[in-house]
């Protein structure tokens, strides 16, 4: 499997969603590094280079996910980033990565909604890890 022995960094302050991601990425063969805050994720980034990163959008800051994506891409431009969010359900705001304008400031490769199923998660990850 192409994800074997690859490292994923997951940051999410929602322990339930974090467990969900942890269990599912582990089953896909990843070595999982899970943290619960933007601060811890930033520390992790200085310690190792992940092969994939999944960040929650709103943690201790409303834009934690954006900041983390930005910092990660600066350090490791080739590492794919997924932003996971329930922000649409919570606030009605919609972000996308479709227009060049959005792509220029949102340094993420995918958006996923937190209500997604395990098979959808695997599909998203596989399409990024090719």
């Amino acid at each position: 499997m192409k994800t074997n022995n690859k490292k994923v960094l997951i940051a999410d302050d929602d322990p339930d969603f974090l467990t969900f991601m942890e269990v599912n990425t582990k089953l896909m063969g990843f070595e999982v590094h899970a943290v619960t805050s933007q601060k811890e994720a930033e520390e992790q980034l200085t310690l190792f280079k992940p092969d994939l990163a999944i960040f929650d959008l709103m943690m201790e800051n409303k834009d934690s996910g954006f900041i983390l994506s930005h910092k990660l891409k600066k350090l490791y431009p080739d590492v794919p980033v997924i932003i996971a969010t329930a922000v649409t359900a919570e606030t009605g705001l919609v972000f996308g990565l479709n227009s060049p304008g959005e792509r220029s400031w949102i340094k993420a490769d995918r958006y996923i909604d937190k209500s997604l199923r395990p098979d959808q998660l695997q599909k998203e990850i596989n399409s990024l890890m090719k």
């Binding site: 322990p15 339930d16 269990v23 089953l27 201790e60 329930a86 009605g92 395990p118």
Partner: protein, 373 residues
């Protein structure tokens, strides 16, 4: 000054120009309206003309003669009501029969002005119709605002209710697929989390019930002499076990009996919410001081904790529904985000006041003042 568009429908040119003269410089103002209303007057000689005019122009008021050469005034009125135009119609007619009046009223005519009329009669009728129109539109606007707020509340609420279900469902799926191992112990943490989320959902539902009860108004309230000392004691006993887990001490400083005419359940909600917050957002080995003061014509309730406190920015958002202060020190604390908005609503029912002062990292103090009836 806002201008209302008035259409005068009459086949006699003399009447039309007379009405124009009377209303041209006439304005209507009321103490409760932000600005006066003036009138922008247009004329139509027939019912057919009137209908094509209102199709093209957003008309506010129509002064309508019944006896017209083609279709009658009453037919124009019927057209207005059938097509739900937001136009206030005043019938101006010399041959008013009871039958006509009944039909016109049924079709929503606001009033009748008999012909001939003196300028003062017309002005009085215009004043009344303007006020009616203004109030009608304001009511509509307020209802729409209410609906929008209600919709926002419901969409956040449904999210808050769905999210624990999603979490528990996720855990159940992981267990069914044995994703974390074959032993029951492998799932201990998931079981704990599931129970915690369900507990959170239960408190959300009970907070919701409190909120609907308060919002449904006075119907279910039961005012009686309530001893706030008793109520506070009772609330302290409820949260003592939780406080002990974090080695928090609760001190009560209050007269042996402090009576107030109130709904006991509402007083319990206030104390329960504030004490529960003081425990939840406190630190290990912290303290909580509950002070109740009898000020004669009012009662002061002060609840002070030595907890994590909040920033000035957080305080401004604190009493909004579903707002929970989100930062590193609060991320493991569960809550519905409704407690303080409920407390505030109750305090407002009593014409009271709630104040917060807080120091980030040092603690918060909530001060409630409830006037005595």
């Amino acid at each position: 000054m806002e201008k209302l568009l008035v259409l005068v429908v009459d086949d006699e040119p003399g009447i039309r120009s007379g009405i124009c003269r009377i209303l041209r410089n006439y304005t209507v103002g009321f103490p409760f309206m932000e600005e006066d209303f003036g009138f922008d007057i247009h004329e139509a000689a027939t019912g057919e003309e009137a209908i094509s005019f209102i199709q093209e122009n957003k008309t506010d008021i129509m002064l309508l003669d019944n006896k017209l050469p083609g279709i009658l005034g009453i037919d124009v009125l019927e057209y207005v009501s059938k097509n739900k135009y937001d136009i206030q119609v005043m019938m101006i007619t010399s041959y008013a029969s009871l039958e006509l009046a009944v039909t016109a009223t049924k079709n929503g005519a606001y009033n009748f002005v008999p012909k001939p009329f003196v300028p003062q009669e017309l002005k009085a009728a215009m004043e009344s119709i303007t006020k009616h129109l203004y109030l009608k539109r304001m009511t509509k606007k307020m209802t729409e605002n209410d609906k929008e707020l209600r919709h926002q509340f419901l969409s956040v609420l449904s999210h808050e209710l769905k999210s624990p279900i999603n979490a528990v469902e996720g855990y159940m799926n992981m267990m069914r697929e044995r994703q974390a191992g074959d032993k029951l112990e492998d799932y201990d943490q998931m079981i704990e989390r599931s129970l915690l989320r369900m507990k959170g959902m239960r408190s959300l539902i009970s907070d919701m019930l409190d909120l609907t009860r308060i919002e449904s108004g006075q119907n279910n309230r039961h005012l009686q002499e309530v001893d706030l000392f008793d109520v506070s004691k009772f609330a302290i006993d409820t949260f003592e076990p939780l406080a002990k887990q974090k080695n928090i001490k609760i001190y009560l400083d209050a007269p042996e009996s402090i009576l107030m005419k109130a709904d006991r359940q509402e007083m319990e909600i206030i104390f329960n919410n504030l004490i529960s917050n003081a425990v939840k957002y406190n630190k290990e080995n912290g303290q909580i001081y509950i002070i109740i003061k009898d000020l004669g014509n009012a009662v002061n309730i002060i609840i002070e904790d030595t907890g994590i406190g909040m920033s000035a920015d957080d305080i401004t958002k604190l009493f909004h529904e579903f707002v929970r202060i989100k930062n590193l020190s609060t991320k493991d604390i569960v809550g519905t985000g409704l407690g303080l908005s409920i407390v505030k609503k109750i305090v407002e029912i009593y014409n009271g006041n709630i104040d917060v002062s807080s120091n980030s990292g040092k603690g918060s103090t909530f001060t409630i003042t409830l006037p005595r009836y």
